[in-house]
């Protein structure tokens, strides 16, 4: 099967699931990577190292920032001339738009948020969770190329081999952007929950530390956020130690404790880390649908009846402001050995 893998990156930072897509593609046949952007030689090199046999590159100032229209037009023209059977994407905000537009151009469809792939003859059958993961469906696409967007952390990542290289082919660039990028404001805390193998999340309870006294002249809402920031700092310490990411419930995001990018759940991010520690999160269904497929779930909550305990492997009824720092200290001790 002739497979293309679109390597997604943001300002040169590669989405690791791109390599998982190459790994998946190689189990099906030959893999060509597709890299768009400006000054992307290093990305093309990394694609070879992760197993791509050839790399198609569109390196142009008009592609410096991701914009759906020119990226889609460039990819559609490439796919029309090269006729791959399958195009794999790591699922991100960008590739969702990119694949959706290419599907229109190429008169095909997108199998998205895929967690498993099987081959039946020449048919690709892809599995995806629907109804917030309550049911899994198997889907097929009768168009060509079949486009499949994979979720991070469901397919094995190939080990890079720095000795690998190959042929780079230049691609015709289509610069038909309809939007203008006026500027960026990098969020203070960048977070990639989708790829994190460890996530420590905080909820409403993170602002409830009674032992903290906010400055006298502080308004009540500001004081709540002030308390929450200190609570999230404890969570951040543990996350840093374990090489993990900081997540949050919607209540914590709505309370202004932490930016939206950290939100796990129905209107946030669906995550599948190996270890998920929920601190001060009661476990509304909207949160549970975003993290219940984590391998090991640990819940720390003051309320023994909190629904989060119903899906946790390990539970602690206690004060997160004491338990989290104790966990950090204990992990430090054990992991240093």
């Amino acid at each position: 099967m002739k497979t293309f893998v679109y390597v997604d990156h943001f300002k040169g930072e590669i989405q690791p699931a791109s390599w998982e897509a190459i790994g998946l593609g190689k189990t099906l046949g030959s893999v060509s990577a597709v890299v768009f952007g400006l000054g992307v030689d290093a990305i093309a090199k990394a694609a070879f190292e992760h197993g791509a046999g050839e790399v198609f590159v569109a390196d142009d100032s008009s592609l410096e920032d991701f914009r759906a229209e020119p990226y889609a037009s460039t990819l559609s023209v490439l796919a029309s001339s090269q006729s791959p059977d399958l195009i794999l994407f790591p699922i991100t905000a960008r590739t969702r738009e990119l694949a959706a537009m290419c599907a229109v151009d190429l008169n095909t469809g997108v199998l998205t948020d895929i967690t498993a792939v099987e081959i039946d003859g020449d048919k690709i059958i892809a599995t995806r969770p629907i109804y917030e993961g309550k049911v899994l469906e198997k889907t097929v696409c009768s168009g060509k190329p079949v486009m499949v967007s994979i979720r991070a952390r469901f397919f094995p990542k190939p080990e890079p081999d720095v000795s690998k290289s190959g042929t780079t082919t230049k691609v015709e660039v289509k610069s038909d952007a309809l939007t203008t990028i006026e500027g960026y404001s990098a969020s203070k805390s960048t977070v990639n929950l989708g790829d994190a193998s460890v996530i420590i999340s905080g909820g409403r309870g993170v602002s409830n530390n009674p032992s903290l006294t906010p400055p006298d002249d502080m308004e009540e809402t500001d004081a709540e956020i002030w308390r929450a920031h200190q609570g999230f700092a404890l969570i951040g310490d543990l996350a840093d130690l374990l090489g993990g990411a900081v997540g949050a419930s919607r209540a914590a995001v709505d309370g202004g404790y932490i930016p939206y990018a950290h939100q796990v759940g129905q209107t946030g991010k669906v995550v599948t880390p190996d270890l998920y520690i929920a601190a001060g999160i009661s476990g509304a269904i909207q949160h549970l649908v975003g993290m219940r497929n984590a391998k090991v779930i640990v819940a720390i909550n003051k309320d023994a009846d909190a629904p989060i305990f119903s899906i946790a492997r390990y539970g602690v009824v206690g004060d997160l402001f004491k338990v989290i720092p104790a966990l950090t200290a204990e992990f430090k001790k054990k992991l240093e050995k």
Binding site: T108, T179, V296, A299, R313
Partner: protein, 282 residues
């Protein structure tokens, strides 16, 4: 300014959806359960899902779309908001919800021939309806749906119409025919602009969806919801390129929670760290 917002009806989050293991080749049966003793059966017939008596709501992401549309209506005098939905007759309820929030008009596309549509098919139908409504300056979508969750439709629609896509808007401003949004992605916030007409998808930073007011609900009950068939749109049912071949229940982890109860936080930490390390997930 003329704004169209595309919304969908979905089963409520609280509903328990289960695939029935005893399925046959023609019909796959989903069971929607609200509580263990009152089971609503949801049936998929050639891909078309019916919900039985399961609670159905406006797709929560689309409430933000309606909210975003109404904010722009309020910002620019003389604007109107039309809510547009594909679905069975029951989907009138979500259109009424949008009307009660403050939308001016509502259109339901309903046709028995719409058995099996994929996201591109839905987008094709929506684009024909958007053109029939006419003169749209802004088409607003939610980020994704709760049921199918593909999040592809807004980009399909933008591409088919050849309009700019302003995806994942957290804030929106319209000035002199240009729409400027703050795009919210994992990596950062971007400020992006495009000339109207535009297709947009919005995220929750747009602001909490307003509750329908008493006056709004009264007004909604008086608005006549237009119902268009595929014949009214002058199209046939689009053939599905993406189809479902099977439904399965996910593997359930039946492990009961193990509570770690010790006297001191240090003792809890010691016991818990030992358990976590034994899981070999670090």
């Amino acid at each position: 300014m003329k704004i169209i917002t595309c919304i969908k009806q979905v089963p409520d989050s609280e509903a328990k959806v289960k695939a029935d293991s005893g399925r046959d080749a023609l019909a796959t049966v989903l069971k929607l359960t609200r509580t263990p003793d009152s089971e609503a059966k949801v049936k998929t017939d050639a891909g078309q899902v019916t919900w039985g008596d399961a609670p159905l709501v406006i797709n929560p992401f689309d409430e933000y779309a309606v909210e975003g549309a109404l904010q722009q209506k309020e910002a620019i005098d003389g604007s109107t908001v039309t809510a547009l939905c594909i679905g069975p007759n029951s989907a009138k309820d979500v259109l009424k919800h949008a009307l009660a929030m403050g939308a001016d008009e509502a259109v339901l596309i309903s046709d028995p021939a719409l058995k099996e549509i994929d996201s591109v098919g839905a987008a094709l139908i929506l684009t024909v309806a958007i053109k029939k409504i006419g003169d749209a300056d802004m088409v607003v979508f939610g980020r994704q749906t709760l049921d199918n969750g593909s999040g592809l439709t807004s980009a399909h629609v933008a591409r088919i119409l050849g309009l700019p896509l302003l995806g994942l808007a957290g804030q929106v401003k319209v000035q002199d025919g240009t729409v400027t949004i703050e795009r919210v992605t994992e990596e950062d916030r971007q400020t992006i602009s495009a000339k109207m007409p535009v297709v947009m998808s919005v995220v929750q930073s747009i602001g909490e969806p307003r509750y329908p007011s008493f006056m709004g609900i009264r007004k909604a009950s008086k608005v006549n919801i237009s119902v268009w068939s595929l014949g009214d749109l002058g199209i046939e049912a689009p053939a599905a390129i993406v189809t479902r071949t099977d439904l399965m229940n996910p593997l359930v982890d039946e492990t009961k929670v193990e509570m770690i109860a010790c006297e001191t936080p240090e003792a809890i930490a010691e016991a818990l760290v030992e358990k976590i390390l034994a899981e070999k997930v670090l």
